[in-house]
Symmetry: C2
Subunit: 211 residues, 2 copies
């Protein structure tokens, strides 16, 4: 097993170090966040650092990179208070990755990468029509992270769209059935294969596999 102290990691070339550290935190839920600006122009960007904060209230958090590097999504969320998170199926990974290119604020990534805005009465933000699992949120709090000028954005889910056939009898959305991908680092996209679902763990009892 190789060992890398921080002093060695800090000596590495910037992109090598970025790839290394980004991947360490493991497989992520890369998703497309859609917003709209004050001129009605939509924005679409891929975010991979998304967490579940709680089910009641239903809260989701995501990390926005420093504003100077990634200004549009967070500014639009501050302007309208609303956004949508759209999960990515395997057939859309090229378009999804392409949203990370630096387009100007006047140009919508939807059109640039070839995805379709889906406007509903449920959110000021559009959804991605092609996404089979998506939900809209109202922002609750934006917490500045002082160490590196990132932001932790917390939103409350207000509505969900998904293909009903991926829903298990106990409410579990089996994203694999919709070919939803997982990501690694800043540029790796992976399909999944279920190993197991396990029953609620208690000391001294044997886990049961949930079918």
């Amino acid at each position: 097993m190789a060992f890398f102290p921080l002093s060695e990691i800090q000596s590495w070339e910037r992109f090598y170090r970025g790839n290394f550290i980004n991947g360490l935190s493991g497989f992520k839920s890369a998703s497309l966040i859609a917003t709209v600006n004050h001129d009605g122009i939509s924005n679409l960007a891929i975010f991979s650092n998304i967490v579940h904060l709680g089910a009641d209230p239903a809260l989701i958090g995501f990390v926005n990179r420093p504003r100077e590097a990634a200004p549009h999504t967070i500014r639009n969320i501050e302007t309208t208070g609303e956004y949508s998170i759209n999960l990515i199926p395997a057939n859309l990974i090229e378009q999804a990755h392409q949203t990370s290119a630096k387009y100007g604020e006047g140009e919508s990534e939807f059109k640039a990468v070839g995805l379709t805005e889906e406007w509903t009465g449920y959110s000021k933000a559009p959804f991605v029509l092609e996404s089979p699992v998506k939900y809209c949120l109202e922002v609750q709090e934006i917490i500045p992270i002082k160490f590196n000028h990132t932001s932790f954005v917390i939103g409350a889910i207000t509505a969900v769209f998904l293909d009903r056939q991926i829903l298990a009898a106990d409410g579990f959305p089996d994203l694999e059935k919709a070919n939803i991908i997982t990501s690694l680092g800043i540029d790796g996209y992976y399909g999944t294969e279920r190993l197991a679902r396990f029953s609620y763990a208690k000391p001294g009892t044997v886990l049961r596999v949930i079918e």
Copy 2:
């Protein structure tokens, strides 16, 4: 496509709603966080909501559930300032899930589930000997999330251990080669299969696949 407004989701039975909302946020980097308490007794617990905050400084954040539900890890981090994050290969998913059982503070989950403490000179916290990718951290800040009493715990990476053969030439740690799993919801574990790595995206250029 099925549509679920928040009012309907809130009317659901608690466990059904929990499964549904937990899974919505997508595939996660479930990992084992190891700590030690003031009596020297180790603690090991599975956490799935882990994010990359930045590569320089190398910062990782994770969500700790409300203290009344999950007190040990966060208390140990406050006591010692240090913890390790250990990624989970497919052959350890049962032991990893079993760490979520409510063991008393005097009982180490390492022994209870059959994993091995690995003490090093690099952290006050142990590592999981059986994990092929792991790193230790010093806590930087614990941010209380006011809406539901969870905490967002930010740590700085101080050292990394991993199998050198998973490292690509550009620093990308190909976790799939170490059979690292991804998780979904509170109880689903999945293997992965690489679809693609894509080159840095720029407007108007075609993505290249990185081998």
